[in-house]
Symmetry: C2
Subunit: 308 residues, 2 copies
Amino acid sequence: MNAPSALASAYIAFRDDLIDDGLLVPMGSDGLFGRGAVFESIVTALDTAIMTLGADNNPTILRFPPVISRSLIERTDYLKSFPDLLGSVHSFSGSDRDHLALIATAESGGDWAQAFTSTDVVLCPAACYPLYPMSSGQTVPDSGRIYDVVGTCFRREPSIDPARMQSFRQHEQVFIGGESEAMAFRNRWLERGSGLLRQLGLPVEAVIANDPFFGRVGKMLASSQRDQALKWEMVVPICSEEWPTAIASTNAHQDHFGAPFDIRRPNGSAAHSACIGFGLERCTLALLRHHGLDPHLWPSEVRAILWS
Amino acid sequence: MNAPSALASAYIAFRDDLIDDGLLVPMGSDGLFGRGAVFESIVTALDTAIMTLGADNNPTILRFPPVISRSLIERTDYLKSFPDLLGSVHSFSGSDRDHLALIATAESGGDWAQAFTSTDVVLCPAACYPLYPMSSGQTVPDSGRIYDVVGTCFRREPSIDPARMQSFRQHEQVFIGGESEAMAFRNRWLERGSGLLRQLGLPVEAVIANDPFFGRVGKMLASSQRDQALKWEMVVPICSEEWPTAIASTNAHQDHFGAPFDIRRPNGSAAHSACIGFGLERCTLALLRHHGLDPHLWPSEVRAILWS
């Protein structure tokens, strides 16, 4: 499993098994899949289990569309940190004559989308982003505001690894409030999240991680994040023991969102935030890998959690 | 309600009511909304009711992500018919140096997305699009293949009308097969769909409709579609009696998809297709408008259908 070609073979073999069984449907681009009824029933069950697990926090429940306003992303440092992963939505606003030229370009096999210009929306890169503007300019209690959110995220990283989709769903619980409270939230969820995944029969390990920051400066950002142990991933082998897949993560953002969105603590300083995020497709793939492609044959204790 | 300003006031008043009650959350761009727990519980219940209604057709159940491959859209005539509605996804693939320039442009308030180039994906404009490549090059029986699909669609038409979202979900049942069978499917669903919506207490009317074809040529396409009565909409007043909103539609596509995707009938001719599509957010808004903003107070016969 060391050589890249062995890893690539493992990706393709698992992907083909999933497709053969109708769990996933290929869509002509790497990292894009339709989902069959069985795959989707697992996602729905996981979604409910995660919501139930966090219900004692009495979160505000919100669901968001896959696009967000461009100005939202401009208020964060997403463009500095992950420019290569962002999907920007462009559209056509030309005349009848421009339209004829557009069609001629398309018919000659040219890049017709060059005639498209940027809109005021982009694809949402992480489920929690739309939350921060909601508290902008406000003071939140140190005990925090807590949200349960699900969103479809887009990251431009086409891959043959079925666990690295371009479009995927995240179920997050998010805290916005005091500093020590944010850290306690993250720590508690690291335990809780790992606990749920272990109960589901997954050999999960918690490891210190970093976000995939872009370029040369990104390397420094990544090591600073690791040195402070801000982000932890819950990893499980899916296609490789050596390169396990992060299926959930908990992250202490410090005042990374509180500061730019002007969310304040009662003492006037910027609010801290933290989140736990479950990758719904990745958790589903891990379950299918470890318990087999037919959920009816999964261990009864796993089925009891998901379909009790 | 005749003057545009009265209509605009009605849109804004309803939108503000929905926001005040936490049913929708504004996201800083017209036609983009987060959804609260109550709104989402109605969407989920509708989704289940629609699936149950069509279960006797034993459809193949598929769920799709909000992005599809660019080549798929190029095989259809979407660019000819609706260029202005399409969302094209662009990304950044530059160097460290390009990245510095990108950030400088963003910091000066410039159009940084000009440095983004078209990817191999676009936003999905209608839930059924990903289905047609699945049967490409195949012969389907005249009795047809039937699919139950849900997808998040994007149409670039920012509006203050809360029922005209840029990002919204469609639940469709789709038929691909013989010509008369496709027409029978459409006719049966026109009755069934209207029936369900009437049972839900909505004063729905079925009307001949046309798609919003672009430009001068589009006007001819629209009248041809109307002359043949191919598309029917189920309309309900939401913000206006005079301008009711289409909350569902049935459409006979003829061989509009069968021909370009090379889907054949046993006699060798191109397959026909037809669909019923429910706009999940629009149906939800119609219910909220007609029965009030608190589903606990809705008529018991409506609640029984949705939450029995």
